[in-house]
């Protein structure tokens, strides 16, 4: 196995295009998969030295998260948490400190785990992913990026270079909630919501649930239910009853499908209430 450590994006893209090449970012997933023999790449292309992929950039209208920004960097960023509370909360409860210091934004998304903690808040916040190859650049809504467990729309030779978010407006709110049995665990269910409140009513909303389907799922029925409404106790109770109908969880060693449906309702209700700073019963 070859090991490459390019220092420019152009060089990285050339190496990623080679057959049998595999991108190495934080390594928290890939190193394990290689050890277990589930992946046998011919070459590793480390992104650790590619400056173009590093760090958070605050633009006038948008915010760019370089693909190899670590989860710890998201948590420590001075502005990010104020702009995107859902993203901060997800990064805060992501794995352990030891993992957050290694794991990257791009790695987590390209890994396409159904229980990613990062994907639901980013989808709810309307994030787009920048994809680059030697030939072309393109942008895709993150909501369209996932195909199934460990499967994305990345084409061979393509690299996720950044996640781009629009700066929120003054009436934008967001929240993220995750349920696990112990702190450092994969989500049984996680839910992220992002909404715009106009005079107490929901002007625009995205609600996304993770670990309850092959990919993170938009809760479109819930979005339609609360659109234009004030998030009062009755409406939130209705959200709690109905959100579970919109997901397709499996039963596994962590939780039954039925429990995950119930949790989806509870977390969705609470996340909406948290985002709107409304009372919840």
């Amino acid at each position: 196995m070859q090991y490459h450590r390019p220092t420019t994006l152009a060089e990285a893209l050339r190496l990623v295009a080679e057959p049998g090449a595999r991108v190495l970012a934080g390594g928290t997933d890939l190193v394990l998969r290689m050890r277990d023999g589930r992946e046998r790449p011919d070459a590793l292309v480390s992104l650790g030295r590619v400056a173009e992929l590093a760090g958070v950039t605050l633009g006038a209208g948008s915010v760019r998260l370089g693909a190899r920004t670590t989860l710890a960097e998201l948590v420590e960023h001075e502005e990010l948490g104020r702009l995107f509370p859902a993203l901060l909360e997800a990064a805060r409860v992501f794995g352990s400190m030891l993992v957050r210091n290694l794991a990257t934004v791009g790695g987590n998304l390209c890994n396409a785990s159904p229980c990613s903690d990062l994907a639901p808040p980013l989808i709810a916040l309307g994030a787009r992913v920048e994809l680059a190859s030697r030939e072309a650049r393109r942008e895709l809504p993150l909501g369209d990026f996932f195909v199934g467990p460990r499967e994305t729309r990345l084409a061979p030779g393509e690299l996720l270079t950044a996640v781009v978010l629009d700066r929120p407006g003054p009436r934008d709110r967001s929240a993220f909630l995750k349920h696990t049995r112990v702190t450092v665990d994969l989500a049984l269910v996680n839910v992220a919501v992002a909404l715009e409140l106009d005079r107490g009513k929901v002007a625009r909303v995205r609600a996304v649930a993770g670990a309850v389907g092959p990919t993170p799922l938009r809760l479109l029925g819930i979005e339609a239910l609360v659109a234009g409404q004030a998030l009062g106790p009755e409406l939130l109770a209705e959200v709690g009853r109905r959100a579970g109908d919109e997901v397709k969880p499996i039963s596994d060693v962590r939780a039954s499908a039925e429990y995950r449906r119930m949790l989806t309702g509870v977390l969705c209700k609470r996340a909406l209430a948290t985002a709107a700073a409304a009372e919840v019963s």
């Binding site: 196995m1 070859q2 390594g27 190193v31 050890r35 480390s46 400190m97 030891l98």
Partner: protein, 185 residues
């Protein structure tokens, strides 16, 4: 195939020939013989393999050795900066009796040192979160939290609460302890 890499560990430079798939944990233990860094689960769950990379705590079992090139690695052997003196975290682990079998201790101490380097006055909750990636199967964590609290007090220059009152054998951290971290500013 092996490639020769240069690793900076605890201020020393090592030249080693490693294949790219070997983890930093394996190279530290097997090539450099720095066996203070343990291998526990090997999955990044237990934290026994914790090292600092440019001052940040990471699981060395999830990191390839070649990825550490150009970075400064600190293992438990390098935690104390002065010769014959312990880091305050190490001294307080001893004083608080926070060590039982000792297998998790190097990782715990590095995570604690990292936590205190970022946050000199952590709350109890912050200590728990900061150490949540390090598992101990002996102690029940209470003495470990106590040691971190005391190290925090000591690092801030305040007198730590006298937890060892009435038990001189426990060796309080204040003065008198030649191996204490007092030598460290």
């Amino acid at each position: 195939m092996k490639q020769t890499i240069r690793l900076r560990v605890n201020g020393d430079t090592y030249e080693v020939a490693v294949p790219p798939w070997r983890t930093l944990n394996e190279v530290l233990r097997e090539d450099l013989r720095l066996t203070g860094t343990k291998r526990g689960c090997g999955d990044g769950d237990c934290g026994a393999c914790t090292v600092l990379l440019d001052g940040r705590s990471v699981t060395s079992c999830l990191m390839l050795a070649v990825e550490a090139v150009g970075h400064e690695v600190t293992t438990v052997e390098g935690l104390a900066t002065a010769r014959d003196a312990l880091h305050p975290v190490q001294a307080e682990f001893i004083a608080a009796g926070a060590i039982q079998c000792g297998y998790c201790t190097p990782g715990m101490e590095l995570s604690a040192a990292y936590l205190l380097s970022r946050n000199p006055s952590p709350t109890d909750d912050e200590i728990r979160r900061g150490l949540s990636g390090n598992l101990c199967r002996c102690t029940g964590y209470q003495k470990i939290f106590e040691a971190v609290r005391r190290a925090s007090d000591r690092l801030k220059g305040a007198a730590p609460p006298d937890a060892a009152a009435g038990d001189p054998a426990a060796g309080g951290p204040a003065g008198g302890d030649p191996s204490g971290g007092g030598a460290r500013p």
